[in-house]
């Protein structure tokens, strides 16, 4: 028989690693203890983590028990993940620039310009809703052609694509 402190620690470690709610039954079977003891331990843990100085607590959902952060700290958690929301890698920016100016364009045409594979980046840009599939090109393999989205215009504060700084300007700057 395990000591109560140790049993409590085991229950806590299991709840800690699980992304899914764990039931009293599951926990008891894994640890091989009486469900009554498990029940008491889980209630102990619930009471403990309700305390103010804890950032997460143990909630009971339909299927069992799950550690989740307390809702009042959502803003901070959002801040933690936010950098991933907004930053675009330089490679992604390059790819986006090429698509913006050369659309409709296929993946292999982008690769020809950038000199590297762009599969992943194109997928990321689609996920971020900055570009979308416009259709397929006639010709061998009928490759997908990409273009920028409405969200792209919104994010860059453009009314339409004609508002992109023109390449003609670029030429004149050069001369």
């Amino acid at each position: 028989m395990l000591f109560l402190d140790e049993t409590k620690a085991i229950v806590e470690s299991l709840l800690f690693v699980s992304n899914e709610p764990l039931s009293i039954k599951q926990l008891s079977e894994i640890i091989n203890i009486n469900p009554d003891i498990t029940q008491r331990i889980v209630e102990d843990l619930q009471a403990e983590y309700t305390k103010n100085y804890h950032g997460f607590h143990l909630i009971e959902v339909a299927e069992g028990f799950l550690f989740v952060t307390k809702p009042e700290y959502d803003l901070y958690i959002q801040k933690l993940f936010k950098p991933q929301l907004s930053t675009l890698s330089h490679a992604a920016l390059e790819t986006l620039a090429i698509i913006a100016y050369k659309q409709p364009i296929t993946r292999s045409e982008i690769e020809l310009i950038r000199g590297v594979k762009v599969d992943k980046i194109v997928n990321t840009l689609v996920e971020k809703n900055l570009i979308e599939e416009l259709g397929r090109k006639e010709g061998p393999g009928r490759p997908i052609v990409y273009g920028t989205t409405k969200d792209f215009l919104k994010y860059f504060g453009l009314k339409d694509l004609s508002q992109l700084p023109s390449l003609e300007n670029l030429k004149h700057q050069e001369e």
């Binding site: 690693v17 992304n19 959002q78 907004s86 620039a97 913006a100």
Partner: protein, 240 residues
């Protein structure tokens, strides 16, 4: 122990040194070379790349062995004395051994860490929960334009070309070289002198293939003064 159980020729050598309880600074090279060659002979090489690594080391060992057996020239210059042909190999073995130790320390740490679990949140899920947000928050249309401008400029530049030097040796060329050397020295050439320390792996292999080819063509012959004695190569006279 099979050859596949060793990480490479250095690993095999270290094993032999440990098994024989030998002082790494004073390797009985003849003994170790024999044992090393026994392993190689018994091995069935499936992976040619792997095999070539072991063969290169075999050649190195034979070269060291030959150098140590070579009688010291009479007119020996003092500075040359004390130079041990094993030195370079010993330095390599000691360095390799250090990293083997370091690897075993990493293994211990790895084992400890496999007992430890972190929470494994699906970050994509969390991000989704917070809504899409603006993925280009810190960028303006000017950044986009500048980026494209740089791409266009880069595209108009010629690709930089680097010259990569690589030794080019053909078997034919090597055969010619060996024959020329043989025609000059009537007393023949010591086999291991064809592979001085520091000879590139490619050259060792090509030289070896060239020798095999010359034997096949009956252009050269070998003489050895007893087993494990030095091997000397001679031109085969037409009359023979």
């Amino acid at each position: 122990m099979r050859l596949e159980n060793f990480e490479g020729p250095l690993d095999l050598l270290l094993h032999l040194i440990e098994k024989n309880e030998i002082d790494i600074y004073d390797i009985p090279i003849a003994k170790i070379t024999d044992q090393y060659l026994t392993y190689i002979n018994e091995a069935k090489f499936l992976d040619l790349d792997f095999a070539s690594e072991f063969l290169v080391m075999a050649a190195t060992l034979l070269a060291i062995k030959a150098k140590m057996l070579l009688p010291k020239p009479v007119k020996v210059i003092d500075e040359d004395e004390g130079e041990d042909p094993r030195e370079e190999l010993v330095i390599r073995l000691i360095e390799y051994k250090q990293y083997k130790e370091a690897a075993s320390i990493l293994r211990t740490r790895e084992k400890e860490m496999t007992k430890v679990f972190t929470r494994n949140f699906d970050e994509a899920q969390i991000i989704k929960k917070f809504g899409p947000g603006n993925p280009v928050e810190n960028l303006t249309v000017h950044d986009l334009f500048q980026t494209f401008k740089v791409i266009l400029e880069k595209a108009s530049e010629p690709e930089p070309i680097y010259e990569i030097s690589r030794e080019k040796i053909s078997i034919r060329e090597c055969m010619v070289n060996i024959m020329e050397a043989l025609s000059v020295s009537k007393k023949g050439l010591v086999f291991t002198d064809l592979f001085p320390l520091g000879t590139s792996r490619l050259r060792i292999i090509v030289t070896f293939l060239a020798l095999l080819e010359l034997i096949k063509l009956n252009r050269i012959r070998f003489m050895q003064s007893g087993s494990f004695g030095r091997i000397v190569i001679f031109i085969r006279d037409d009359e023979e």
